[in-house]
Symmetry: C2
Subunit: 274 residues, 2 copies
């Protein structure tokens, strides 16, 4: 690799240990140049205060997590989701996030109609996009692993996400999160198809064998079986020069550790395993 990747800390990686202020100070202390807050952490301290703290420490914001969750059983639910997404776009603009990550949502309660849910997602993004373009916040569709298709995101491959991008035009792109897409036989092709214009973020962690929980058992880079250097090279070959955002949801391991050790380990693994 020509250079070690520039790390961004997704705050979920230390969500049990640190509030947003502590995470910002931690990034500054360890020389991590960028951060990606979640909205619950923003709300704890207030968006304006978050903006000030991030700016005071000279950090960039690689993304805001997250908008999305578009499908609902009725128009009231869909409108509530849209209203919340507009607030998320505004928050992303306020803190200067490079994009708003969209975890698009799964099946509405009681529904088995995946095709309809996928259409609701496309319609929801189309509607949100007007506001997002107006305030200059790119929307980043994150395809989630197929094991989340029912309850978190019915967009499950990069190909699906890029089809949505193609149909909606400017202002919308994708997140390539290795945890969700590493298994896809079409991954290299779809990363090429996305290109530098559509790739709004590159997220890393690792897939552990065995994985003991569907949601909260992600591994530290290098501890699992994902060929991170290969995927990184495909992403960088598009011309991508953004941050490599570390997002590790790990209830049984990394959330139990000293957060300074977690950040130091992330930085080391940026060099040795990513």
């Amino acid at each position: 690799m020509p250079h070690p990747p520039l790390m961004s800390l997704n705050v979920a990686t230390v969500r049990k240990q640190w509030n947003l202020r502590e995470a910002i100070e931690g990034c500054a202390r360890h020389g991590v140049p960028a951060i990606a807050p979640w909205r619950d952490k923003l709300e704890e301290c207030g968006v304006e205060e978050a903006k000030r703290m991030i700016s005071d420490h000279g950090l960039k914001v690689s993304s805001l997590c997250r908008g999305g969750m578009f499908p609902a059983s009725d128009t009231v639910g869909r409108q509530a989701a849209l209203d919340d997404n507009r607030r998320a776009v505004d928050d992303a603009a306020t803190i200067g996030a490079a994009c708003l990550v969209l975890v698009v949502g799964g099946l509405p309660k009681g529904s088995k109609d995946l095709k309809d849910a996928r259409q609701q997602v496309q319609d929801g993004i189309a509607t949100l996009l007007e506001h997002a373009r107006a305030v200059g916040v790119p929307l980043a569709i994150e395809p989630l692993h197929p094991m989340y298709a029912a309850d978190r995101a019915c967009v499950n491959t990069l190909s699906q996400a890029l089809d949505i991008c193609d149909s909606l035009g400017d202002g919308v792109g994708v997140i390539v999160d290795v945890y969700h897409v590493w298994w896809d036989p079409d991954l290299e092709t779809q990363i090429k198809r996305a290109g530098n214009q559509r790739i709004l973020g590159f997220h890393v962690c690792d897939w552990l064998v065995p994985t003991t929980d569907l949601l909260l058992d992600r591994g530290m880079m290098g501890d699992g079986i994902i060929d991170l250097p290969a995927i990184r090279s495909w992403v960088e070959n598009t011309g991508f020069t953004g941050y490599t955002e570390v997002e590790i949801l790990s209830a049984r391991d990394w959330w139990l550790r000293d957060p300074d050790e977690v950040v130091k380990t992330c930085l080391e693994r940026m060099h040795s395993a990513t």
Copy 2:
């Protein structure tokens, strides 16, 4: 639907409660016309005895579970897998199984090279196919859900499996197991592509929300979010008239129940939810 599906009992559904003899007798008692044994259950009683018991009760064998697990770190490991697969083919022939299910295997220990594992799978099936054709046992590639790509099967979509079939010719097809493929946006298209010639089996259960275990938390048909009638109609539209094989791995629920209740429930759900 023009008719209720004809059920086959995959013995894994009652694996904690019944040995093979009990499962065969249970099928006969409840009017289930077909069965699908696993090899460990065959070995417990011996293949010839299994053949006799199945024949005595007038059951058909919709599949034998399972061959596969082709990738290995070295030639010794690959040869051992092939030898074991030849024995599985012979066992399938002995009991008159309609096909041998292949769970193809994941990454060899220590490897992160998914492309190589997939090539090993293709090469392994190609080699095994000579013997399988000679004894008249169709090989049925079962694409497994992407959450098993690392440790169980690196063939994760129907599209991948059909590409392998296309490259190898006669004597190899696919299993459509709803648990593994329900999320795939390309599913209807790929079922059409497979057609009646390539679809060697149709397996059902359901995807629970939430799913609490990656391996052993499958649901009874109708208890989850899979649109079983839709997928069944796509399969039957190809001309498929085979058995609908029920395979429910359920450590927290169905494996704890009276096995007669389990079989009765499966039969009811064939009508009401499949």
